[in-house]
Symmetry: C2
Subunit: 235 residues, 2 copies
Amino acid sequence: MNLILLFKDDFIDENKVRLEDRRLRHILEVHRPLIGDGLRVGLARGLIGTGCITSLNDTSLEMDVSFIHPPPSPLPLTLILALPRPKVLRRILLSVTAMGVKRIFLLNSYRVEKSFWQSPVLEPESIQRQLVLGLEQSCDTILPEVFLRPFFKPFAEDEIPELIKDTLPFIAHPTTPEPCPRDVRQPVTLAIGPEGGFIPYEVEKLISCGFHAVQLGERILNIEAAVPSLISRLF
Amino acid sequence: MNLILLFKDDFIDENKVRLEDRRLRHILEVHRPLIGDGLRVGLARGLIGTGCITSLNDTSLEMDVSFIHPPPSPLPLTLILALPRPKVLRRILLSVTAMGVKRIFLLNSYRVEKSFWQSPVLEPESIQRQLVLGLEQSCDTILPEVFLRPFFKPFAEDEIPELIKDTLPFIAHPTTPEPCPRDVRQPVTLAIGPEGGFIPYEVEKLISCGFHAVQLGERILNIEAAVPSLISRLF
């Protein structure tokens, strides 16, 4: 937790917050501060600043907070990700949030196991938890938006044309000859398939929508390595 | 499992293997092949080819195998990684093996919890399991070497000078101004700190050995995102 993310409910006065939850326990165990110490704080969807500890015990911490500078710039990336298995999804949500992705579509694909869509990891509170962990990791305050799209075809036909407008639309596809470009400096829409890849119908559909197939080399990476690798290559 | 990795013990004849373990169960559950079908196989530390199934039931699978082409090129990278927490280590070993890293030093650092060095994840069989999963993922056959270095100072003083010879030595350090270079096309030694980072003494020690501090942007990434991001940026 490199930044303590604060929400409206944390405020007990205009510039004063009280923490009694997971964040307090983390601060006590990891930061081990004293009264008077400063901690980096951020206001959800707002500025970053400092919290000066005014009161601290095992069940409660109070800070006077002031907010000074804006959060880091978001990545100009819309990520379309075939829904990974639940455990992997949790970690990916944290990682891509930490990397600065602000718009994530979780999409069905032929090779996504149907049971994944029933996972409690997809409940809004569970998704939110991973996003907050990602922001706390990377000292950001802007929560990404996560959209569930359990039907491939209507998403491709009805939403993608609008979504990819004014962006470079790439689909990661290990068997294609074209390497993923580096340092593009333009907004990108990036589609990444499931374990085993998108099926040919899905790849063709996305290409017919305007996507370009790109690859990271002859190695087929696991999703957890592929997603940060692709993002880091592009930006 | 995009490739079935074969070891000497699997051979029951010169060009015939029998599988009865985890690989058989995976093949039955995921590939669901018939007799006569071909599977991609690779000989550990050797060539890649095809296995043609000659016999198959719930407890055993036999294939006639032939090996044709070499595995993908290794990355010219030596990775020095402050020992991550055990669960993270397992996943990182798989990911970096899939990416083609062939030499990994797991190093102590002030901020590495001592208990991590006692983890069963560090036992040779446990490490080997993750390396094999990484090779199966990326269709490679060359097992990386993994070295444990539980003492920072003697490693830095006695081994690093030889290790970094003829390589670009980088240390990932989020607060440094120099961005991580792209597409270096030279051998690299890359040092990545623990959660919370290397302490100043460690950073200075590595810099005095010849390392250059580089960063990936103002965001502090979790290790699981940082490692693939840095590798993908460099190569």
